[in-house]
Amino acid sequence: MILTFVEQAAGRPDRSSLEALTFARRLAAAQGVPLGAVLFGPAAEVAAAVLGAYGVVEAHLVEPAGLDAYAPAVWGRSVAQLVGASPPTVVLAAGTDRGQEVLAYAAAMLDAPMAANCIDVRPGEPFEVTRQRWGGSLLEKARLDGPVRLLTVAEHVTQPEEAAVPTTVSISRFTPTLSEADLRVRVIGRVAPEPGKVSLADARVVVGGGRGVGGAEAFSELEELAGLLHGAVGVSRVVTSAGWRPHSQQVGQTGTRIAPDIYIACGISGAIQHIVGCKAAKAILVINTDREAPIMSRAAYAVIGDLHTVVPAVSAEIRRRQAL
């Protein structure tokens, strides 16, 4: 058995979890073992029912008594106890905040190794994984030993793909045995996103600004273009370190990973820490005065010129066509 922690919202599995399930199904096929899933929270049963399309034969719905909110140690404990009940060979999760966190708890509780952000696995003995270091600008081949191996699957690497033959999902419920200590850390409140604001991680268009923007005020030009395209503004680390923009807009290894249809990178030279945050974009359009900027080698399209001239001209052109 291979067990995958599937994240879901309102009965829909998250895209990153479908990526992880696709990765897990290929591993299960290579090992000749069945694919299982573990889900939490309200509507988990609805989400579990659709996992047959991804080859899941067994879904465990975890129902911790009296706890609806996300609680990392509780979820980790649940995964660890499911592992104890019917030892899987491998436990996987998406390389998301919760995926890394829940699996790290389970690994610590099981005293088992965990490899984060894997992009490939070669099962057998030794069991070898290829994983991302430095946010993906470097790869590491590593051995993962132990009776149970835990790994997270790097986001935006595996395309979600349904199984050739869908399976029937058998659903069972699991109530973990918890201690007081497991219950200490849990979400006690939420601050909803600003209504109408496009989130950077989900935006189809991101307009990026770097050192070349030159100061806090000049970002209004990028905001205007992003607004016209129903997109979001993203920035490089230089910009947040200078205090020009809030860190929540930072794209890169220590900021947000974006995957838009197009990333319009204005005045950004392209340090590797920034590139790993935007390389999942389907296309990169660079606007830069420097033809030799490192980001050029990652770009599909480029405009050579001063962003303060080019960006307002593009916005004006969009407005002109919209008025026609």
Partner: protein, 258 residues
């Protein structure tokens, strides 16, 4: 309030990375060293919390003798004490690293030093293991909050926020606790010249960690490689403002201008 902040020495990469001849490390002959950005912010947070609440801050690292530079950098911005768990320079895996930190914290406790708050970076910039803080928390029976970008300590309770789905999740735990922070929680200060001079004179407490023998280990690094990147030549759409129509044509073509 007593705070311990754990950091890791990593090469300061920027442009292109090259590997050592045996492909086990980054070629650092022409690189400087720093700590991971998340940990830079953890260090700043420790200094601010002690400034606001009183108490003492300690920085700890597991690494080679040269990691003393990173400990001094932390002391230059106001950290009081520094502990170096000195290795021969080989990478320790996350399981072994967590075990060595746990040993060091227990040794501190045995010497009468109790910590109210243990700060980590959410993940190290180089190895990106996402687990050291949690392993330490489980071993010591402490609560742990990850991914924290806002932290408030009041009356022995830590209230922390982390970004989730464009909004925030709020967590609250009693101290002692572990908090793994992310860059963005604060804007780290630059060290002052007097700060650097003071740090230079301060003692670094050294010990040699014992690698744990039993239980899990790994992942065990075999070798590194650079990802194959599809690097091509960008299609130049034009120069200056004259390129605007070509840009908008492109946006229409890929369907983002409905």
């Amino acid at each position: 309030m007593n705070i311990l902040v754990c950091v890791k020495r990593v090469p300061e990469t920027g442009g292109r990375v090259t590997l050592s001849a045996d492909a086990r490390e980054i070629d650092t002959r022409y690189l400087g060293f720093t700590v991971s950005p998340h940990e830079e912010c953890a260090t700043e947070e420790a200094v601010r919390l002690v400034e606001a609440n009183g108490g003492s801050s300690t920085v700890l690292t597991l690494g080679p003798e040269a990691a003393a530079d990173q400990l001094r950098a932390a002391m230059a911005i106001g950290i009081d004490r520094a502990i170096l768990l000195e290795t021969d320079g080989q990478d320790w895996d996350p399981v072994a690293t967590a075990a060595a930190i746990v040993d060091a914290i227990r040794a501190e406790a045995a010497a009468g030093v109790q910590y109210d708050l243990l700060l980590f970076g959410n993940e190290a910039a180089d190895s990106g293991d996402f687990q050291v803080g949690i392993r330490v928390a489980i071993a010591l029976g402490l609560p742990c909050i990850n991914g924290v970008k806002s932290l408030e300590i009041k009356d022995g309770v830590a209230t922390a926020r982390r970004e989730a789905g464009g909004g925030w999740e709020v967590f609250q735990v009693p101290l002692p606790a572990i908090v793994a922070v992310r860059e963005g929680i604060n804007l780290p200060r630059y060290p002052s010249v007097p700060g650097r001079l003071r740090a230079k004179k301060k003692e670094i407490e050294r010990s040699v960690p014992v690698a744990r023998q039993a239980g899990a280990a790994g992942p065990e690094k075999i070798r590194l490689s650079l990802p194959a990147e599809s690097e091509g030549r960008a299609e130049i759409l034009g120069t200056g403002a004259d390129a605007a129509p070509a840009v908008v044509d492109l946006l229409e073509r890929i369907g983002v201008l409905a």
